[in-house]
């Protein structure tokens, strides 16, 4: 417990406060729930935009026009080559400091869309798109060349071939790494605390400053992150089942126990759900 001195006054160290922990875990405060809600919707919106933008980048990289291919490659190189944390600060604080652009609150209907939320969603989506582009590109490359030829022989244009033949098949390959990406995305939102966005992590930090229950409150936050990623793993499994070819036996995916507590017999976690670091090139190579 000596480490708590970094965050809390050492005079406050008084063991683990179980009642505080259970209280916050079972009936979190309104501000904590608000932070949780922000974490969820920012993740969902940023991931959705990231998938769409990633698809655009992936298609650009396969274009017959060299300029688009080059542009797509440059995008991935630039975004993947710089840390998300740096990108966040550059977009929200940097642009404003340089007088280029200041994110301001925008009223939408009866609600107010905070400037910091706009910056957060934008940056997360742009960042995510670079990784999704690589995943989608690898998935498209993994589809047998004969599929494209069959579509061509039937008179399909390149765009029709993409929509009718390639993308539906790529989807099944994309979902497992996409699941990884969304899992990482929910956890990456904790970085938004550096630009002052009151998501779950920063809310926990505020509660910590007020109560000095450092271990307790961050353990509560960890439990909620775990709950989010666990719910998502069920959703992901459901999607994978939906997309599986009904004619074949479903792929030997990890069981619930393996999914929750790790790989078989303590070995490396099963592929597709493996807790790989944010290294889409790795996922990309696996898919191809």
């Amino acid at each position: 417990m000596a480490d708590t001195s970094l965050l809390a006054d050492s005079a406050q160290v008084a063991g683990f406060d179980w009642s505080f922990f259970w209280h916050y875990l079972i009936s979190p405060s309104g501000t904590f729930l608000e932070g949780l809600w922000r974490t969820v919707y920012i993740s969902v919106v940023a991931q959705a935009l990231g998938v769409v933008l990633g698809l655009v980048i992936a298609l650009a990289q396969r274009s017959r026009f060299a300029v688009l291919r080059w542009g797509g490659g440059a995008y991935v190189w630039l975004i993947r080559g710089t840390p998300l944390l740096v990108q966040l600060v550059l977009v929200y604080n940097g642009l404003a400091a340089a007088g280029v652009y200041r994110f301001t609150d925008v009223p939408v209907g009866g609600l107010v869309l905070l400037g910091v939320v706009q910056a957060a969603v934008l940056t997360l989506a742009v960042n995510e798109a670079a990784y999704m582009a690589e995943i989608i590109r690898a998935a498209l490359d993994a589809i047998d060349r004969g599929q494209t030829e069959a579509a061509q022989a039937l008179g399909m244009t390149p765009s029709l071939t993409m929509r009718v033949v390639l993308l539906p098949q790529a989807l099944r390959i994309i979902v497992p790494p996409l699941g990884n990406e969304f899992n990482l995305m929910m956890k990456s939102t904790s970085l938004l605390s550096v630009i002052g966005l009151q998501e779950m992590f920063l809310t926990a930090q505020s509660i910590n400053s007020a109560t000095f229950k450092t271990f307790e409150i961050f353990l509560v936050a960890a439990c909620y992150y775990l709950a989010l990623t666990t719910v998502w793993s069920f959703v992901q499994r459901f999607i994978e089942r939906k997309l599986a070819d009904p004619g074949t036996t479903p792929p030997p995916g990890p069981s619930l126990r393996e999914r929750l507590v790790g790989g078989r017999g303590g070995g490396p976690a099963p592929r597709g759900t493996a807790v790989v670091g944010k290294e889409p090139t790795l996922a990309g190579r696996e898919a191809s």
Binding site: R64, A150, A153, L154, G155, P158, Q169, D245
Partner: protein
């Protein structure tokens, strides 16, 4: 490019196909097709005319260029020299300022609509049922209403003897069944010319018969076909013309009977004798 019969790299002893300009009244008229892969000439001046309702069987040793020839006919491969007309219209190229230039993808796609192609490895769409494999192109490419296209697809599946497999995915079908679905899929576009690229050579022997039977029925129906195959039974009973490819050129051609009993070239005799044993 309209006069491809320049001097060849090496002496050609065989028949070089029709001469003179391409014939716009033929279903297919190809002149002087040349195709090189990395400096190696796989096709070295191939010319051929195919009339309506004609059935041409192409044979030749591995590497003789017969599959490349077929793939060039609907521009799955580009050609380096020569000209291909299907129903009097160029495939893959249009007139440029001083030479032919490759068409844009959209225009090439439009030209392929009425050229059916059956692949050695079937290439069915694994995410679609047999019925949807057949119906998808009429709906998406030709804009046929979905209900109508599915009805036609069901009829085509019945024609190839697979009405009961309409809802099956390709992964649960046997090789012979997959190839029959692939034939139905090509027929759904109502092609004027059907190209078959070794349609039975990826099949287990016991499944060859069912595919050959379907192909013979198409011949009865008067479909114009070019078939690359070593299925000599099919050639003997269904082909109007047998074409022997060798080293990127047509070595000789004629009726199946002529080539099988009294060919002009010793190489033809030796080759046909060798493959006929394997049926």
């Amino acid at each position: 490019m309209n006069d491809p019969h320049g001097p060849h790299d090496r002496p050609i002893t065989g028949h070089t196909g029709p001469t003179g300009p391409a014939d716009p009244t033929a279903v297919l008229s190809a002149r002087g097709m040349v195709k090189a892969f990395g400096g190696v000439r796989v096709l070295n001046g191939v010319s051929m005319d195919v009339r309506a309702r004609e059935v041409v069987v192409v044979v030749g040793p591995s590497g003789s260029g017969k599959t490349t020839f077929l793939r060039c006919l609907n521009h799955l491969e580009s050609i380096d020299e020569g000209e291909i007309l299907v129903h009097g219209r160029r495939v893959g190229y249009k007139d440029g300022p001083d030479r032919l230039v490759e068409e844009r993808p959209r225009a090439i796609a439009a030209r392929r609509r009425n050229i059916g192609f059956v692949f050695q490895r079937f290439n069915l769409f694994p995410h679609l049922s047999a019925l949807d494999n057949v119906a998808v192109a009429p709906v998406k490419v030709l804009g046929v209403p979905k209900a109508e296209a599915r009805e036609q697809a069901q009829a085509l599946l019945a024609r190839v003897g697979l009405a009961h497999k309409a809802s099956s995915r390709p992964s649960v079908l046997s090789g012979g069944q997959q190839q029959r679905v692939a034939i139905a899929r090509a027929l759904a576009m109502k092609p004027e010319l059907m190209l078959f690229d070794e349609p039975t050579s990826a099949l287990d022997p016991e499944m060859v018969g069912e595919v050959v039977t379907v192909m013979k029925e198409l011949v009865e129906d008067g479909l114009t076909m070019i078939v690359v195959t070593h299925e000599m039974g099919f050639a003997r009973s269904a082909a109007d013309r047998l074409v022997m490819f060798d080293q990127g050129v047509i070595l000789e051609e004629g009726t199946p009977e002529k080539l099988m009993t009294d060919p002009d070239h010793q190489r033809t005799r030796a080759f046909l004798r060798r493959i006929d044993g394997h049926g």
